[in-house]
């Protein structure tokens, strides 16, 4: 009978699911790291108004923002092998994990690029001029004066992107990655108890999202430590 909801099963599967938490976190860490790098790279042509490149990047960002992550996952999963086949590299046996990391990197890069661009634009132009006036070079002025101020502005949005990305990793199982949800699916197959296992998964996600949110909030407070109290307390 499907009616007897089994609380003890939740407690039983939680430790099993938690063994696969590192896989989820691995996706998150790699995708965030590479996403930030790529995000910085693709934000530059938009900031410097480099023709052609700027338009290509605008289309890229619009595409990533305009399609579901699930579709992007499938596009990368089927598209990258097809692309690499043109140069005679066979990646059909590659671990699905790489495809997942590539997808989330591409997706995060679009968000990060927009966040970085907006944050750099919020820094007053006078700051750059002041830096020049005391003899800093363009790169020095950017790295020492503009970037630290921009990061403070960008951080809350970056934190949001990371949290969304963490929730999005729950779709990695759809191309066959053995993460928490993937393990959950196999547990459902063996126990035929879907509700309990999805509840256990939800609890794990809820807890790690809350923890990540806490950690990011603390960081945000640290970044705002020099700000006057009114602006920092928001």
């Amino acid at each position: 009978m499907a009616n007897d909801f089994d609380f003890t099963l939740i407690a039983k599967v939680l430790p099993i699911l938690l063994q696969y938490l590192p896989v989820t976190l691995e996706i998150l860490v790699f995708a965030t790291f590479f996403g930030m790098l790529l995000g910085i790279v693709i934000a530059i042509p938009k900031l410097l108004h480099i023709p052609v490149l700027k338009q290509i990047i605008t289309i890229y960002i619009s595409f990533i923002r305009g399609t579901p992550i699930l579709v992007q996952l499938f596009l990368v999963f089927y598209g990258i092998p097809a692309l690499l086949k043109l140069v005679h590299i066979d990646v059909t046996r590659m671990d699905a994990m790489y495809f997942v990391i590539i997808t989330y990197t591409l997706s995060n890069a679009a968000s990060f690029a927009e966040i970085f661009r907006a944050a750099i634009l919020t820094v007053d132009r006078g700051q750059m001029e002041a830096a020049y006036s005391v003899g800093l070079s363009g790169i020095q002025a950017f790295l020492r004066i503009v970037l630290p101020q921009a990061i403070r502005v960008a951080f809350p949005n970056m934190a949001n992107t990371m949290i969304n990305s963490l929730k999005d990793t729950s779709l990695a199982f759809s191309i066959g990655v053995m993460d928490m949800v993937g393990r959950g699916e196999t547990l459902i197959a063996s126990t035929t108890r879907a509700l309990e296992i999805y509840l256990a998964l939800s609890i794990v996600y809820f807890v790690i999202v809350m923890l990540l949110e806490k950690v990011l909030k603390l960081n945000e407070r640290y970044l705002n430590r020099y700000m006057p109290k009114e602006a920092a307390s928001s």
Binding site: A2, F5, S62, V71, F74, Y78, L171, S174, Y205, F206
Partner: protein, 235 residues
């Protein structure tokens, strides 16, 4: 493997036939979600006892878990509840007769309610308190002031956020694919499997989502311009 461009076009036509279903699955949860969101936001702003902590948990739970979990929990959880109630009331009703689409829309509605409530809350809190006081000063009641002054301003400020929610839920409907609902992604997968052309089918469905998102963004931008015309700033 080369990309079959003719097939992309073919798939585009085939897949776009279910666009109305996807739009229905997006619009219904967002509208119902906004209604839930208004109620939740008021309870949380007024800090009504017992109810407010419960709704706080509702919002943080739905914002803290992936949407696919909401769909799965509703899909597997609601039938159990329905069966128990039907048994207790001795009604001849089988939970298996509920269409899958209902579960998806219910899950997305609950989820949209949580996201919308945060947007409405921040929208209402962004309207200066002086507006409410001014409305009181001319003799309006609380609900009149809300309906005529505060909410219109709050909504017009929240349009970009609502656009994001709408597009987010347009994309979230793709998750119904896991329950084999025949919406855009589901049909794309069927078209792909029949013809064994996965890449082309997903390119086609990507293009559809992309164009719908672009149209929605453009429309929202125009609406925003219209409704915020009162606060042009300057002289």
């Amino acid at each position: 493997m080369t990309i079959d461009f003719a097939f992309i076009f073919e798939a585009l036509i085939e897949i776009s036939k279910v666009l109305p279903l996807t739009l229905f699955m997006t619009v219904t949860p967002v509208i119902l979600g906004i209604l839930i969101g208004i109620i939740v936001a008021f309870v949380r702003i007024q800090q009504i006892k017992i109810l407010a902590p419960m709704l706080n948990f509702y919002v943080s739970f739905f914002r803290g878990t992936p949407i696919i979990m909401h769909i799965m929990l509703v899909y597997f959880g609601i039938p159990i509840v329905v069966d128990v109630i039907a048994k207790a009331l001795k009604i001849e009703y089988q939970s298996s007769s509920i269409p899958i689409l209902f579960f998806v829309i219910l899950a997305l509605t609950l989820s949209a309610g949580a996201y919308a409530s945060e947007i409405i809350r921040s929208g209402i809190l962004s309207v200066p308190k002086g507006q409410l006081e001014a409305a009181y000063a001319v003799g309006l009641t609380f609900s009149q002031a809300m309906r005529r002054y505060i909410l219109p301003q709050a909504f017009s400020k929240s349009i970009p956020n609502f656009t994001n929610v709408f597009i987010g839920f347009l994309h979230a409907t793709s998750l119904a694919f896991f329950l084999s609902v025949k919406e855009l992604t589901g049909v794309a997968n069927i078209v792909a499997s029949i013809n064994l052309k996965f890449l082309e089918a997903f390119i086609a469905v990507g293009l559809i989502y992309w164009s719908v998102s672009a149209i929605v963004e453009w429309l929202a931008h125009r609406i925003e311009k219209r409704v915020t015309a009162y606060s042009k700033g300057g002289i």
